[in-house]
């Protein structure tokens, strides 16, 4: 047995000494060049993963035997023409550069269908869609009055009126409307014949919940907001005075004066005072704690203008958007953008923000300790008129609402961003996108119907049920 053991040991040791370097070389992408030369060459690979999976892969004219997801190994450094195709979908083609020992990974290729599928449609006509982001509701408008507005459930397309037909406010015009991402409620200021009335309206399966805030909120409040996690209180800012209305008791109180802007995030109140200090306080305005301040350069740029909009994406992800589209970040020495920013969309997976102007869109990546100041990386320019942007498909794509078109911007480290036009929507009306269900909600160009179009097919058994407190939907300018 001892001799046998020694013999087997020698065999195994030899096998290991031979196999280990070979396996490691193969793992690092080394390959034996075919042909007469037989030399060891460094190779790279291409990784392709599609939604939906099972697409055929062609490299040049050669068809790859496996369907997606697929790894094309042992590729000599060069440029390769890759075509991914699936019946019923537009083909995806790229010229991909492969470097030695490197991978060119396309993990979220989204194949767009040749013919769009509607999950549901709601006959109109409608004038405008108001997205209530990160909720299971939409708001559509047929006319100017309160009765002309409908809550629509995103999953089923079921419409619900904002108020009952016999409501005294039914025929009143809506002058202003406020909503908060993550909350299905809206606050509306009404005009004739209910001049100055301020209502809190929240959709409900049994019928909308309506609270009259008239007389409680300052009539001139320019910005009204609430915490989606605590819907008992509504906050309003009027001429530097921040007020709070407690809904259950219908009582109002003044929290602070000299406030430039405010925001709410996860049961905390964020205040920007006149000394350009950013404070974090309890929801009742107590226990204010100073956070990072805005630099003098940023503040100079904003001074003398109407209150700015404080955007809170996380406790450490705070941006200030000025009324002329100035974008500043607390703690940064210089403004991020001087003017013209129209909107921001937060991507929680990689903690980055999409920033868009009229004709271009860029990315604000998480702060890099090696860089002095964060900078926006403009990734696509030459758009017609961007009004909205949404992160899609696990942060791998951005859905752009550009002019009257919806487009899909594919982001990938291995290649420059590419834009694909999807379909036309009603001019002037916003759209909504839900990445959980993969549905785009939009009005038909004619305005005859509200449609839920399947952008990304989902196979989950829940049927794409969207949770109300998601964080990854888009934010748009109010």
């Amino acid at each position: 047995m001892q001799r046998l053991r020694q013999l087997v040991f020698v065999l195994f040791a030899t096998a290991y000494l031979v196999a280990c370097p070979l396996v490691l070389l193969q793992a690092f992408g080394y390959s034996l060049r075919p042909g007469s030369e037989q030399q060891l060459v460094k190779t790279g690979l291409i990784y392709l993963e599609t939604t939906p999976p099972g697409a055929t892969v062609h490299v040049g004219r050669r068809r790859f035997t496996k369907s997606t997801p697929a790894i094309l190994r042992g590729l000599l450094p060069a440029h390769y023409d890759v075509r991914v195709s699936l019946p019923g979908y537009h083909a995806w083609t790229r010229t991909i550069r492969v470097d030695a020992e490197k991978s060119a990974a396309f993990e979220h290729i989204l194949l767009t269908p040749a013919a769009w599928t509607m999950a549901w449609t709601l006959p109109g006509p409608f004038q405008e869609l108001v997205p209530l982001p990160e909720t299971r509701w939409l708001l559509v408008r047929r006319g100017a009055t309160l009765a002309d507005h409908l809550f629509v459930e995103r999953k089923t397309g079921q419409p619900n009126p904002l108020v009952s037909v016999d409501s005294p406010f039914a025929e009143a015009r809506i002058l202003s409307l406020w909503s908060v991402p993550g909350s299905p409620a809206i606050v509306v200021r009404l005009g004739v014949p209910a001049d100055g009335v301020l209502l809190w309206i929240e959709p409900n399966a049994e019928g909308p919940r309506v609270e009259d805030l008239t007389g409680l909120m300052p009539p001139g409040a320019q910005r009204i907001a609430w915490d989606p996690l605590d819907r008992r209180a509504v906050y309003g800012l009027d001429d530097g005075v921040l007020s709070r209305v407690h809904l259950p008791s219908k009582s109002a109180s003044v929290l602070a004066g000299g406030i430039q802007a405010f925001g709410l995030y996860e049961r905390s109140l964020y205040l920007l005072d006149q000394s350009h200090r950013l404070l974090q306080a309890d929801l009742d305005g107590k226990n204010p704690r100073p956070l990072k301040s805005f630099s003098a350069a940023s503040w100079d740029m904003l001074s003398g203008r109407p209150p700015a909009d404080l955007r809170l994406f996380g406790r450490d992800s705070i941006l200030l958007l000025g009324s002329r589209g100035e974008l500043v970040m607390p703690g940064a020495a210089l403004p991020l953008v001087d003017r013209g920013v129209l909107g921001l969309a937060w991507e929680p997976r990689r903690h980055r923000t999409a920033v868009w102007q009229r004709d271009r869109i860029g990315l604000l990546d998480p702060p890099d300790p090696d860089e002095a100041d964060p900078r926006i990386r403009w990734i696509f320019e030459g758009a017609e008129r961007i009004t909205q942007a949404f992160w899609a498909h696990q942060g791998s794509h951005v859905v752009l609402h550009d002019g009257d078109q919806l487009s899909l911007l594919e982001l990938n480290r291995a290649s420059p961003p590419t834009l694909r036009t999807l379909f036309s929507v009603r001019p002037g009306s916003p759209v909504a996108y839900d990445d959980d269900t993969g549905l785009v909600f939009h009005l038909e160009p004619s305005g005859d119907a509200l449609c839920a179009t399947v952008l990304i097919p989902r196979r989950d058994l829940l049927g794409g049920f969207s949770l109300p407190d998601r964080q990854d939907a888009a934010a748009t300018l109010p």
Binding site: M1, Q2, R5, F12, A13, C20, V23, A27, T43
Partner: protein, 575 residues
């Protein structure tokens, strides 16, 4: 070589060496774990390459071990029905016995033919070597059983198994080594056992080990050493030569197979250097195997399998748990260490150093069955198992002492130093690190993936290679499952297919169990040693359901009844 085998009371150079070698295992284990974690964070490409190299090495070791597990199991299985007493008697007239064996008809079964082939091969070797054997009838066995808090129901099945040996029990001296600090119930219980079984053996002594003797720690080694010295005096009084005595030190719960002493005697007789040898059976944990949680069962079956594999490598085999040895070797080596916890392995190292590297462990193709440690509840069992494995891993305390002796000795051959030193070191390091590397740290490069790594070819190659390695490892796992199902004692009730499947699935928990209840206690022990800490010897708790005793003790009840009846008749006769 005369060497004080103790980690205590050192001065000067010895103290420095002791500290250095105490730190080394823990330092290397922690360096491997922290180094790999740091590499995974800072240099993921290098870390991933090292993980692949390690996984491949692990696969090779696993397959290598599986081959010898199967061979060792086959050997054990082949010798299951060997009549060792017939072989002992055959040694008196070896040529005639060999001729008779050769002329016997070939067995019909493959197993029988293989067993016959092995026997004839061994006989041929004995005839060629022409060694003289001691008279088999002069051999006396000394069995020392340490008792601290074990009650009679734990000790008695072992005594019954000794009384029912094929070897004459009248040549077995049983010594119960009872601690003075043991409870009155334990002491009374042992007295009852002595009264019940003393006439079955050459003698049945109870030696009470006084508490707090100078130079001793509260360890098992001190107790059994004290008892063995008392037994030596008793044997000398009876005129038994030291060379004719084989000493066995059994845990209190040890139940030996009915052929154990015969098998041991045969191997002792045919061993040319029998006075410089230990004899290691395969420890199995069958006494209460169906009464403990699955994780404890899997872990101890794993321990048995490890010993089965080790049995195929006598050159590096170290004594473990219940074992036997030449009494002369024991006396000359100065008995078991009295201030170390890991006495079962320490006695091997002590003898190896005493005999200048010329000491061997002979694997025995037979089993001794013990209890799996168990607590009153599932969580208590985890606690007890963890403590027991940590105590086993505390065997690392031998490393600094052995290395000190190796450094000091000029008479131990360099090859022996390297062979044993490297084995001792490597075993401890792999024990403490492999579980973590395979289940946690090996996955870190992929889990903490950064840009540099995710852009590389390796990022996509590594999972495929790892998956292939783990797929090949299932060959070993499947073999282990099959062997475990065939080696285990038959349960009282016939298993349904679902139960069989459940017992097979238990093995899928091995990665978690081996990390939490094997690698972690080993790392704990090495860290304590590295930091100069110590471990208190605590007797593992044993629990059996009295009505569900299994395994080698399965026939104990019947035998017990028979013995009790015999005792009654003896008493009647005496009256």
């Amino acid at each position: 070589m005369n060497f004080a085998y103790s980690p205590h009371h050192l001065r000067g150079r010895d103290l420095v060496l002791q500290r250095i070698f105490s730190i080394l295992p823990g330092l290397v284990s922690w360096s491997v774990l922290i180094g790999m974690t740091t590499l995974a964070l800072g240099r993921p490409l290098l870390a991933a390459a090292l993980v692949i190299a390690f996984n491949l090495y692990w696969l090779m070791r696993l397959l290598f071990m599986t081959i010898f597990l199967v061979l060792s199991y086959l050997r054990l299985s082949l010798e299951q029905h060997t009549d060792w007493m017939a072989r002992i008697h055959g040694l008196k007239q070896l040529p005639a016995f060999a001729a008779a064996a050769r002329s016997q008809a070939r067995p019909e079964t493959l197993r029988g033919r293989l067993a016959r082939w092995l026997h004839l091969r061994d006989l041929g070797a004995l005839l060629r070597e022409g060694h003289a054997f001691p008279a088999p009838d002069a051999i006396v066995h000394l069995v020392v059983i340490p008792v601290m808090k074990e009650l009679p129901e734990i000790v008695e099945p072992g005594l019954v198994s000794l009384a029912s040996q094929t070897f004459p029990s009248s040549r077995i001296l049983v010594v119960l080594a009872v601690e003075e600090r043991a409870s009155l119930a334990v002491k009374t219980g042992m007295r009852v056992l002595q009264r019940r079984y003393r006439h079955r053996f050459l003698d049945f002594m109870i030696v009470v080990h006084p508490d707090g003797l100078p130079g001793e720690a509260r360890v098992k080694g001190a107790n059994v050493t004290y008892a063995a010295k008392a037994a030596a005096a008793a044997l000398a009084e009876q005129g038994v030569a030291v060379d004719d005595v084989v000493a066995s030190c059994f845990d209190a719960d040890t139940v030996v197979s009915h052929q154990y002493i015969a098998c041991l005697t045969y191997h002792f007789l045919i061993c040319p250097d029998r006075s410089q040898a230990s004899f290691q059976p395969i420890p199995v944990y069958h006494n209460n195997i169906w009464d403990v949680p699955a994780f404890a069962r899997v872990l101890d079956i794993g321990s048995s399998f490890f010993q089965l594999i080790e049995a195929t490598d006598p050159e590096r085999l170290v004594t473990f748990s219940s074992h036997s040895m030449s009494f002369r070797a024991l006396v000359e080596a100065g008995y078991w260490p009295v201030d170390m916890i890991s006495d079962d392995s320490a006695i091997f190292w002590k003898a190896l150093i005493r005999f200048d590297g010329r000491y061997q462990v002979v694997p025995l193709p037979t089993t001794v069955s013990m209890d799996i440690t168990a607590g009153a509840s599932w969580w208590k069992t985890i606690e007890h198992v963890y403590r027991q494995k940590r105590r086993w891993a505390w065997g690392v305390e031998n490393f600094p002492v052995v290395m000190r002796a190796f450094v000091a000795s000029r008479s131990i051959p360099l090859t022996a130093k390297l062979r044993h030193g490297l084995k001792l070191f490597e075993t401890n390091i792999s024990w403490a690190t492999w579980g973590f590397l395979l289940t946690v740290i090996g996955w870190l490069p992929a889990m903490l993936v950064g840009r540099e790594f995710s852009d590389s070819v390796l990022y996509y190659s590594a999972p495929r290679i790892t998956a292939t390695i783990f797929s090949l490892a299932t060959v070993s796992l499947a073999t282990t499952i099959a062997l475990s199902l065939s080696l285990l004692p038959k349960p009282r009730k016939r298993w349904s297919p679902l139960t069989t499947l459940a017992h097979a699935i238990e093995w899928l928990c091995v990665p978690i169990i081996s990390t939490c209840l094997s690698a972690l206690p080993a790392l704990d022990a090495q860290t304590r040693l590295m930091l100069g800490g110590h471990l208190e010897f605590k007797v593992s708790e044993k629990r059996r359901r009295p009505d569900r005793r299994r395994g080698a003790s399965a026939n104990a009840q019947g035998l017990l009844a028979e013995l009790t009846q015999g005792l009654v008749e003896d008493n009647r006769r005496d009256a």
